[in-house]
């Protein structure tokens, strides 16, 4: 039982790490009012993709996505596994670069960028090199240590809300569906679920638990956007880079010995993000290892990390990063939507074949 819970817990933490920084801004940029509609659409598609993916995986018990695609043939492996590889790699580069910039903007203003990036990467790479079981055990520990303080910050950030900012509830405008920022926000929505395909056969999980974890994550999509909206209002929140961090900055707790609860919150989310990076490094290295089986798995991790670091160094500033984000978001969407569908298709095909051969 305890073993089964590791996967859903990691799933939960990965999303918490992704939600609180870029996601609120992207949603606030993509629409002017009634933010729950775009969030709801995103959460609904999250569930649809997840259910399809789990359904597809269930046709291949105990197999990882890599072996499924390889068995399906060279064409599939080229069309879908390779994009998956590039997706993980780009996400890795972009998130390491973006989050080190965030760390520098918010609290380590005097630390050199390369140093923050190196630390983020090294710790994640070390964890990834220990193997999938260690990653999941670490996730259990992180959950015990950090979820209480995340909840504490969330409860107290309700201090400054003005509920009238919820109004108007309904809006007939659906322009957000074509807004570039909305595509970018999909990283938080779809970034985490693909990893589930890589945990088998090392770990097993029950689909019900994963769906439960997704259900637990769903409110956080709303909370992360609505706390800044209810504190500042759309007009003001849209002027901020990280609206959620600014909203927690404004929280005033007299009796707490610490002046700014933002730091707690930030450090917790950064640890969760490191789990995300760990999983990204792990999967990238796994796929790399699959294509070049002659090198040892540990070395493919080292290669991935060095390549990531070099690419990160070559992104000079935030506007370049935004540009890369914009382009990669389309790629991400392709991966998010095709992978589960293809998996389902392959699953149904093998099932038919199996039935035929059984006849």
């Amino acid at each position: 039982m305890a073993k089964n819970l590791q996967v859903p817990i990691l799933y939960f933490l990965l999303h918490l790490g992704l939600i609180f920084f870029m996601y609120p801004r992207n949603i606030i940029e993509s629409t002017e009012s009634s933010h729950w509609i775009p969030i709801f659409v995103a959460v609904a598609s999250h569930f649809i993709l997840l259910i399809l993916y789990l359904k597809g995986l269930s046709y291949f018990p105990g197999q990882s996505v890599i072996s499924i695609f390889t068995e399906a043939g060279k064409v599939y492996s080229f069309l879908f596994l390779l994009p998956l590889f590039f997706y993980f790699f780009i996400v890795l580069v972009v998130s390491v670069r973006a989050y080190s910039e965030i760390i520098i903007i918010i609290f380590l203003s005097n630390t050199p960028l390369w140093c923050v990036m190196a630390l983020l990467l090294l710790i994640s790479a070390y964890l990834a090199s220990l193997g999938i079981r260690s990653i999941f055990r670490a996730a259990m520990l992180y959950a015990l240590l950090f979820i209480p303080s995340i909840l504490f910050v969330l409860v107290f950030s309700l201090q400054n809300v003005d509920w009238y900012y919820l109004l108007p509830i309904w809006s007939n405008k659906f322009q957000f569906l074509t807004h570039p920022s909305y595509f970018k926000s999909f990283l938080a929505v779809g970034g985490g679920y693909l990893f589930i395909g890589f945990v088998q056969p090392a770990l097993s999980f029950r689909n019900k638990d994963i769906l439960l974890a997704a259900l637990c994550v769903a409110p956080f999509f709303f909370i992360s956007v609505y706390i800044p909206i209810l504190t500042f209002g759309q007009e003001t929140a849209s002027t901020m880079m990280f609206p959620f961090a600014v909203a927690t900055d404004a929280v005033n707790i007299n009796w707490l010995a610490f002046d700014r609860i933002t730091v707690f919150f930030l450090l917790c989310s950064i640890t969760f993000l490191m789990l995300f990076l760990t999983m990204a490094i792990f999967t990238t290295a796994k796929i790399l290892n699959h294509y070049i089986p002659s090198i040892h798995f540990q070395y493919s991790i080292v290669t991935t990390v060095i390549l990531t670091f070099i690419f990160c160094i070559f992104i000079p500033n935030w506007s370049e990063l935004e540009e890369i984000f914009r382009w990669s978001s389309l790629w991400n969407l392709y991966v998010f939507f095709t992978t589960p569908l293809l998996l389902l298709f392959l699953g149904l095909r093998t099932k038919k074949k199996g039935e035929k051969s059984f006849d």
Partner: protein
């Protein structure tokens, strides 16, 4: 064995790297001012920092001042000239002079929020006196525990509901929000008291456009959900103390004109009373007095198009967003606001009151 040594070595190295002390300055090499004053002299800003300086037995305050073209430039100047680094992380109160307030402090406020050096929850106040004198007085009058100005605003110390509590992020919100302005407390050097509160400055989009008195500030606080408990209301026939208040709004747009009916439920206790005054008389008199006060204040702020009561918030779902963008100029001046005070006398103290 060698593997073990390497492992220990790596762990020790990581320990050195991970502690975050990259280029830290120790606490004894930092000064942490609590009050920041900004005034304008010709085109230049002048910055005052009030720094608590713990010495034997009591805390002394030290005032440092410097002028320059931008706040950040001045701070770095002070940092260079002082023996320690100035760290603005613990600024609690920011005081600006009237000139800045009238010209608008958009630039200052955005700078504070952008750099995150100054906490966005620092309190903001406008000083009606010259800041030179104000800070000189502050330096003289230091209490044993710390800073007078800070205690003045602390909810668990000297704050009363007649003082507006406005933080830096409130002002930032007021700069952009379509329907939400704020009032900032006005300070003055007092005669017998160190600081005197003369009311509140009415802010519109980051500029001070008018003033309201302390009694009106009480209504502002009540409107914004701050408790007004403990406030004393004086009438010719009686003096009462507010025990509890709650507020309810009803808003609708009729023919393009926003109509607002606000009911305030007050619970009071009687402190002093003239002979032969009945409960009914006190209730009537008090609600009349408060109503008049509200009407005067509202006429004043409505004329200046500053929505410090956040009335626009109540119309968010009744006006489309495009219309809401013109809230301050088009709709707000035409708001028909009626304030109804329902007073209830919870008790009359230990003495009886005439019943009819």
């Amino acid at each position: 064995m060698t593997k073990y040594v390497v492992k220990v070595f790596v762990m020790a190295a990581v320990l050195l790297l991970l502690n975050g002390c990259w280029d830290n300055k120790d606490i004894n090499h930092r000064v942490m001012p609590v009050v920041l004053g900004i005034s304008k002299v010709d085109q230049d800003f002048k910055v005052y920092l009030q720094i608590p300086n713990p010495s034997d037995e009591k805390i002394k305050t030290r005032i440092v001042e410097e002028s320059g073209q931008s706040i950040n430039e001045i701070i770095s100047k002070i940092s260079t000239n002082m023996e320690s680094q100035v760290d603005l992380l613990h600024i609690k109160v920011i005081v600006v002079d009237e000139q800045i307030a009238k010209e608008g402090f958009n630039k200052i406020i955005s700078a504070f929020l952008r750099s995150r050096d100054i906490p966005s929850k620092a309190l903001f106040a406008v000083c009606e006196d010259d800041l030179d004198e104000f800070f000189a007085q502050m330096e003289e009058n230091t209490s044993a525990e710390g800073t007078v100005l800070l205690d003045y605003f602390e909810k668990d110390a000297g704050w009363t509901p007649q003082v507006a509590l406005t933080r830096v992020w409130h002002l930032y919100r007021s700069m952009y929000s379509l329907t939400h302005d704020v009032a900032v407390p006005l300070l003055k050097l007092g005669n017998s008291l160190k600081v005197e509160q003369t009311g509140s400055g009415v802010i519109k989009e980051g500029k001070m456009v008018s003033k309201i008195n302390p009694k009106e500030t009480l209504l502002y606080n009540a409107f914004n959900g701050e408790s007004t408990q403990g406030i004393i209301e004086v009438m010719d026939i009686a003096t009462v103390k507010i025990l509890d208040d709650s507020i309810r709004h009803r808003s609708q747009v009729i023919g393009g004109r926003p109509e607002l009916l606000t009911t305030v439920y007050l619970k009071v206790t009687v402190l002093e009373v003239e002979k032969d005054t009945s409960e009914e008389m006190i209730k009537k008199k008090l609600s009349k007095q408060l109503e008049n006060r509200f009407n005067t204040m509202f006429a004043n702020i409505q004329q200046k198009e500053s929505d410090i009561l956040a009335i626009g918030q109540l119309f968010r779902d009744q006006l489309p967003r495009e219309e809401l963008k013109q809230w301050r100029s088009k709709y707000y001046p035409r708001v028909n606001a009626t304030m109804d005070f329902k007073v209830d006398i919870q008790n009359s103290g230990i003495l009886k009151l005439k019943t009819n």
